[in-house]
Symmetry: C2
Subunit: 312 residues, 2 copies
């Protein structure tokens, strides 16, 4: 029987720690630092020969460092004769560059998938990909989890009678619909249109939010522009309460200021990306842990059981 080992990069060590607790194993000893010139220095400090190794690394900012660190750790583990290496990537970066939406642009999400494979990864465990199609960019097995059970659990406990789940754009309708169905809540969609060049964007809401608790649902909050605009539109259409639940708290640039100054009453996120005290600057943030979900998936992958019942 192959021993289960869990390692962590520097992107999200707290999440890895929590996953280790769930699994009842310590996070493996590894030096992951940098040399004076910024090159990453990795040394696996314990024997992994023949082990079933899981490496936890989110594509957190600085994203290129996080990716290179993951690749170099995988290279080191491979050369240390691990029998199987699973890259656990709670937040998969470069996911928005997943198609040629204009001429002569890269498909960086496919590139990153290829890089991960090239480094020697045997399988991938990830969560709420920006587009499910990214699974097909890999030629190795991918287990794709949804954070929905964690979000749903929290939202349901609030027992909100007049909830409407709102997709902030047309691209997120499927995701919002799945949650709305599970909550037996109604669905609304924000339809942004620009009538012509240099004209302000008009926000139409398809569906009814008036007098209701409007929950904006998305896979990530990056600069928070989309979410805050959507929240404003819901408030203007008479929602009695506007809040949001998003899996990945990218929170770059003006995000925190925008959220704090917005009409959003609560911003629910998960710890796929570490908050690093942002919840103190922005008390609207409420963080849920996906560690038990990821931990359970690892336990099942290790014991060759199906993880499909986790795809709730």
């Amino acid at each position: 029987h192959r021993e289960l080992k869990l390692f962590s990069g520097t992107a999200n060590p707290a999440l890895a720690q929590e996953m280790g607790q769930y699994l009842g194993i310590p996070v493996g000893e590894a030096t992951v630092s940098s040399f004076s010139d910024g090159e990453i220095r990795v040394k696996i400090e314990e024997n992994v020969r023949g082990a079933d190794v899981f490496v936890v690394q989110s594509c957190c900012q600085p994203v290129n460092d996080s990716i290179m660190e993951l690749l170099i750790m995988i290279d080191a583990l491979k050369r240390s004769s691990a029998s199987r290496i699973t890259a656990v990537i709670p937040y998969f970066g470069y996911a928005r560059q997943d198609r040629k939406d204009q001429p002569r642009v890269p498909i960086s999400a496919k590139l990153v998938a290829d890089l991960i494979t090239t480094a020697g990864t045997d399988r991938v465990l990830t969560m709420d990909l920006h587009a499910g199609q990214i699974q097909g960019f890999f030629n190795i097995p991918v287990d794709h989890l949804y954070a929905a059970p964690v979000l749903l659990d929290y939202i349901t406990k609030k027992q909100i009678a007049d909830l409407v789940v709102v997709s902030p754009d047309a691209g997120g309708v499927e995701r919002a619909r799945a949650i709305a169905k599970r909550m037996q809540a109604s669905l609304a969609i924000i339809d942004k249109r620009r009538e012509g060049p240099n004209q302000a964007q008009i926000m139409n809401i398809i569906g009814d939010v008036e007098g209701r608790s409007a929950l904006l649902l998305d896979d990530m909050i990056d600069t928070a522009g989309t979410i805050v605009q959507g929240a404003q539109a819901c408030a203007e259409k008479g929602a009695r309460q506007v809040w949001t639940a998003c899996t990945h708290a990218v929170l770059s640039g003006p995000a925190l200021d925008r959220l704090q100054q917005s009409c959003l009453s609560e911003v629910v996120v998960t710890n796929t990306i570490p908050l690093k005290g942002k919840e103190l600057t922005c008390p609207k943030l409420h963080v849920l842990s996906v560690a038990p979900l990821l931990g359970e998936a690892i336990a099942r992958i290790h014991s060759e059981e199906s993880v499909s019942s986790l795809f709730a």
Copy 2:
């Protein structure tokens, strides 16, 4: 006949510009920037269909960003139907992690070679690799240039009669010997030894430096520890002048202070890595351009001529 096109990443645009001037072509239009969350954004702004494309990108600091940028540019060029893509990497990073000198470490130089190939590179043009063996990490053609002709030209013009070329450690002897031979100068080697744990390092010099102009020769100056220690040893052994010539000016951490405070009278480097005004803080630095050498190599690769006469 395939058109020659030259593109540049953000690592060393001045060098690319100079190479373009040598070749008589402009650097191609490309947007290379980042999104708010630090993900790299690339768009090739001109047609490259069927072209013979050269992308100039050194592994400058921040090194992981430079590498990812190169990979994403190559992905974009490949998807824009360039007929051949050559990665021009004047300074190849992660080159010191080129073997397992202890258990459970990566061979990052091999990983980087694999990443470059995976992205869609057809060939590589590089300069003064830390170890020549790194050429073998690639399964695509590699043209490996030496900066020696550029350094030699500058050194020779000084007409120093009593020159001794000094290798700062045993690993650099071959490089120093080649230059010494071409200069008809003598050779010396610094042999660092630690007699026991917690004992100071002793610097022995094999060869004669007394009363001579000692030129320390190496492939790179990183933190400048090795070079400055070596310079001190030469001065103590009675060298009348101590200076250094190194191809790659990594210059991280305490390097500039160390160089400025050392007994070195001149620090000759090339522009494989941009100096970014460091020569103003440290007036001992003298920068030579490798642009004509790289430009000539590109011209020959493009016209399917041999570049071997450049390996002087």
